[in-house]
């Protein structure tokens, strides 16, 4: 029964997985916009025994060519959101594009987590939220593919 509801492109033409993905991407978008603004307005802080977001956001890894990493994140989430919304309304090509994008995002996020854990030595909770949303988006894509291939057999 639940399998019935789960089918992408149900009777109303809206697939629930892309809709869910759009919502998660919107959360990621809000988070990275917050981080971008936080980055732009943050004052640099020293390396502290008690470390946190400031340490991460003011580290040398928080920018690429002077542009805050979080701004790239915001752009990526906005694209992911757009692709998911288009997919939710039936554009399957967009779902493939979405899948490619979130795969790249997941790989990049894994590297960012590595940086926080082993190089910067501090974790930023909002960056971790972003990691969670990215991995959720990636998982949703994987689940959608598994469901589809499961259905075809």
């Amino acid at each position: 029964m639940s399998d019935e509801e789960v089918q992408p492109g149900g009777s109303d033409g809206i697939a629930w997985i892309p809709v869910l993905a759009a919502i998660v991407a919107a959360i990621g978008l809000a988070d990275s916009v917050y981080l971008t603004i936080h980055h732009l307005t943050a004052v640099p802080v020293p390396c502290s025994i008690i470390s946190g977001c400031e340490t991460v956001l003011t580290s040398q890894y928080a920018e690429i060519g002077g542009i805050p990493l979080a701004a790239f994140g915001a752009l990526a989430y906005f694209l992911a959101f757009s692709f998911a919304i288009l997919a939710a309304f039936g554009n399957r090509t967009m779902w493939t594009v979405f899948g490619l994008q979130v795969t790249l995002m997941a790989i990049f996020t894994a590297w960012l987590i590595y940086l926080q854990a082993f190089v910067i030595g501090a974790f930023c909770q909002f960056c971790l939220l972003s990691a969670l949303t990215t991995f959720t988006l990636f998982s949703l894509f994987v689940v959608s593919k598994l469901r589809r291939s499961g259905k075809l057999h």
Binding site: G9, G13, T36, T41, P44, V45, C47, F78, I85, F89
Partner: protein
């Protein structure tokens, strides 16, 4: 593969509602842009408040660390630039793997060369590798090992470590990079290698750390001028000059009476 029911439905729905997803996307973009702009405007006063805070904290920093005079002295002799009898002592506690320390390095370097001719100003570098940085302790030992081959070698290695921080701090073969730097600054590499694993350099680092802990250093870089912590936001070229010049002036006035000179001198030790 023939079109299945779903694909046909998708095509239909795509036709019927192609405007809706675009509308949603534009709406969200508008919300993000407007919301983001409003939030940015609201957050902006934060740095203002922060630039104001140094003036607030200066008051709090008027008094030196209570145990500045009694804290363990750190490595002896310390890594010093300038005259040992200077009336103004800049003391930095730093971690070679800390990004903020690397950022402060050019500032302090500039300050040191600016006051190089002033025999009333001296600079002391203290190692304070933080536990969270896996290579920081070894880097400190590397700097001290270089210092065992001459004071100027210490400063050259210190410079190498800070300017190349982005290279060695992310490298698993960072020890080899240290050897490279040692060679570059003209050290006896074999002696450097031996000193890296010897006790002498390590014990200097440990003594600096003991001093740092006694002074309750909780972050790096911590820059003190005559025992008063300069807030990190003030560790700029202009900020440091302000603090140093104020100290120089303060030191010059009581210098007229011998007693107070002795007093301020003893505070420095």
């Amino acid at each position: 593969m023939p079109l299945n029911r779903k694909t046909i439905e998708m095509k239909e729905s795509k036709k019927g509602s192609s405007g809706i997803p675009v509308a949603i996307i534009i709406l969200v973009l508008a919300v993000v842009v407007i919301g983001g702009y409003l939030f940015y405007q609201r957050s902006k006063p934060a740095p203002k408040a922060n630039t104001a805070s140094p003036t607030n904290t200066t008051a709090a920093n008027q008094r030196p660390q209570p145990n500045y005079a009694t804290a363990p002295p750190g490595a002896q002799p310390p890594n010093t630039l300038g005259s040992p009898t200077a009336t103004v002592t800049i003391e930095e506690f730093a971690d070679f793997q800390c990004g903020s320390c690397a950022a402060a390095h050019p500032v302090l370097k500039e300050i040191n060369s600016a006051y190089a001719g002033n025999k009333n100003v001296r600079f002391v570098f203290r190692n304070f590798p933080l536990q969270m940085h896996d290579k920081a302790y070894d880097a400190a030992v590397a700097a001290e090992s270089a210092g065992l081959q001459g004071t100027s070698k210490f400063w050259q290695m210190q410079d190498q470590l800070f300017t190349n921080q982005h290279v060695w701090s992310v490298s698993t073969s960072y020890r080899d990079l240290f050897l490279e730097y040692a060679q570059k600054i003209g050290l006896d590499v074999e002696k450097f290698k031996a000193d890296m694993s010897g006790m002498q350099a390590k014990s200097r680092v440990d003594q600096d750390m003991a001093r740092g802990r006694a002074l309750a250093i909780s972050s790096t870089p911590t820059v003190m001028v005559n025992g008063r912590v300069v807030p990190y936001a003030e560790v700029t070229s202009a900020g440091m000059r302000r603090v140093i010049d104020a100290e120089l002036q303060a030191a010059a006035q009581p210098a007229q009476t011998a007693a107070s000179t002795n007093n301020s001198r003893s505070n420095l030790r």
